[in-house]
Amino acid sequence: MAQPIFPIALCALLLLSACSPPPKISRQTHPLPAGVDTARSEIGRSGGVFIDSSPGEPSTFNPLVSEDATSGGFIGLFLDSLVHNNAVTQEVEPGLAARWDIAPDNRTFTFHLRPGVLWSDGHPFSADDVLFTFQAIYDPRFPNRAAFDLSVDGQKFKVEKIDDLTVRLTTPQIYAPFLETVGGVGLLPKHELEPAFRDGTLLKSWNVSVAQKEPQRLLATGAFRLRSYQPAERIVFEANPHYWRADAQGVRLPYVDFLVTKLVKDANASTLAFATGQTDAEGLSPDNVAWIDRYASRYGFSVFNRGPSPNTGFIWFNQNPGHDTAGKPFVTPYKLAWFTDRRFRQAISHGIDRQGLVRGVLFGRGQPLWGPETPANKKWYNPNVTQYPFDPARSRALLAEAGFQIGPDQKLHDRHGNLVEFTLNSNQENQLRVNMATAFKENMRDLGITVNLSFLDFGTLVGKIQDSYDYEAGMLGLTGGGDPAGGISVFSSKGRLHQWYPNQKTPATPWEARIDQLMSDQLHTLDYPTRKKYFDEVQKIMSDESPYIYLVTANAYVGLKDRWKNIRIPPLGSLVWNLDELWTPLLTP
């Protein structure tokens, strides 16, 4: 067995690697498990160090505690799940479960685990680990986000062990996104974490301090295991010697020896690290693509256009008819009458120069957006939603129809003579959004509408939107993509993120009632075409009624060093989702 080298030696090696070839790293060799999964990708060569950077620090390595994307990304590298979501095809694929059966009732799922899979410490992986994971998630002593995702209307799933390699999960009702949800649950090692589970300290285990002092305790079933973590410097993962995938020649994956993540100060620093050849991969924002491309040949990387990103940006009006504890309405009544008038919202939508935003603010790298899903979500996107092209004449006609008139002061007034004026709130951290807000203000001025802009810090803004409701209009974005079930809290009138009027007791309008019905129906059938039909209608209603006035979606770009092979860039999610299959013929960067 090879003696592991020290992290210091490793970084020295990284520094020297530019001038001399690195010494051959010998990896531990173990027999492949009986249930080995054979990758269908091109056969590569073992070795190499993959370097990337992260502007955020992980806050924990415990999946029960993790709530942020950064921590979740690192956890996903070493903890595997029963099934995987293939980022390119958006289909569910076998993971630690080699196959599964769905009973005719569409509620009972039997998972057959891969035989012979070992944790990174050599302990066998079994059904007990699956049971332990669900036990921990459902335990009220350990409040966590997964418990909410893994229940239907507050009811838990039933988890049974059939034998050491077979687990049966039963959902209380038909639950459409079941497999996708299970695909996101990293399975925990019972033999390692059971003592913490018993004495109630499970949420304290696998924290960042453990990761620094005893990285080997973070047992892995994934392609990598943690080797070292130095806050504000770097996180080093190494190939898991017990990983359960191999290539067609029987060479154990992953091909790369080490995965090094530099921890940098902010997104600017991360972008710059890639542009100067220090890292292997980076997600790029559309406004940075032009200059980064100039360094492509010098540092041997290419910039790929992933197409539209799943991020949506929109403006909405507060349609909440309620009032605060002092009896003061959240929205001035005559303004509420405008905001709840569909023609007013559609007129605003027609008045926005989205092509101009794409051309000017996004450097031509984006497209107008008309509905809640972007084309990035190939599986669920509905291209046939109502569109609102830039047409001030049409806006004026709609406004006239709704009783608005241009007064002698060249400003728009409603039928009672009130000046049409509102304050748009947004967050100041996002410069592209600030630019869009100022452009929106100019567009509205052409219609005679006065827009005041108010930029708040993100926390204050969220407080206004979700607690105090004392605002008129907002501008934010949401990350779409994935299963429609992920959007329930936005589309459903009961939802917390149904921002124009959240937490409704009964739907305020017939179309909101219709959306509620559709969202509930799509959840309780497993048939994809039926679900797609329901969700298409939801998207159509959202564009017809325009409670959210969608703006533009930027294209997503990634930069990758040319030396990496087996790259398949998905439209959604992590850009190197198949890290275990990446290989390089050139070991020196």
């Binding site: 600017n268 972008t271 710059l272 542009a275 406004d287 940075n288 693509v289 032009a290 200059w291 980064i292 120069d353 101009g356 935003l357 051309r359 000017g360 603010v361 450097f363 031509g364 790298r365 304050t423 100041q428 951290e429 410069q431 600030v434 630019n435 807000a437 100022t438 452009a439 203000k441 100019e442 005041n452 802009l453 108010s454 930029f455 708040l456 810090d457 204050t460 206004k464």
Partner: protein, 350 residues
Amino acid sequence: MAADLLRSLLRRPAGMISACLLLLLYGAALFAPFLSPTIPSAQDLSRTYHPPTALVWQNGHLGVRLYRLVDPSTATYEPLQDQTAPLHWFSHGPAYKFFWLIPSTRHLFTVSSPATIYLLGSDATGRDVFTRLLYGAGISLSIGLIGVALTSFLGLTIGGLAGYLGGWPDTLAMRLTEFLMAVPGLYLLLALRAALSSRFPSDATFLLIVVILSALGWAGTARVVRGLVLSLRERPFILAANVIGQRPWTILFRHLLPNTFSYLIVAATLSVPGYILGEAALSFLGLGIQEPSSSWGLMLGQAQDIKIFMLNFWWLLTPGLAIILTVIAFNLLGDALRDAVDPRFRLPGK
């Protein structure tokens, strides 16, 4: 005294040049709506990050060169050969209010649509940087003057009273100044700004910043004024005033405080840059002036994006240059003033 000061200032070239530069800047800020070819909120999304337009002399007219967008993805423009648009002097343009009162549409120079003139290029939404710089000067420069006026007033009144009255008012005032000076200013400023931000509309933040800055800044002035008054009050001319039976208030306002003016002028001049930099820092951090208003700090904050450097949009950094020039000018002027008044604290009539 003022004439003396001016005469000694005239003998110092650095001070003279600074004074002229500052006069120029403040004049430009005052006449910003007239001097700028457009209004600061006017956007053109088809001309974002436009480079400064070249001025050419053609057919006996000053004209502006026309440009074509070659590559929208990098915002690359190239000049069109032999195509220019003539400048119109004292012509009509977007409406504005002169000194916030007199409506007018006259601008010093404009070009006819669809041509545009960007003396210092355009920003991320195609707004004219030159126009925003001029309008921004109004905010950035007046913050210094208003702030200094407020602190001088507070410092003079509180410091003068404390020094003259002595006893418990003195103790109270001095403990208060010590408290204010012990508070880490920038953090208090950030905290106050964050706490008050959601209650004030965007335009009121301007005033808010000035008030916050001066509420923190008067302590130093007050302490020095108190010290001066303490020493002056034992001088023979004050004792004489006492003896002839003048009332305390008359002594304070007629004899004591005027003698601290020479110090105040120098101190005020030297502290103006602090306010300008304070506003710039706040706006840079996104806590000061907000879009769509314009200030130098805000403009500089928006230029901290890495692509600005990498794509060489250098004209977006001109607010930084303006801040540097103003701060240097104020410091040089302050130095010259100090040299002029320092040799001795002159007494009236001497």
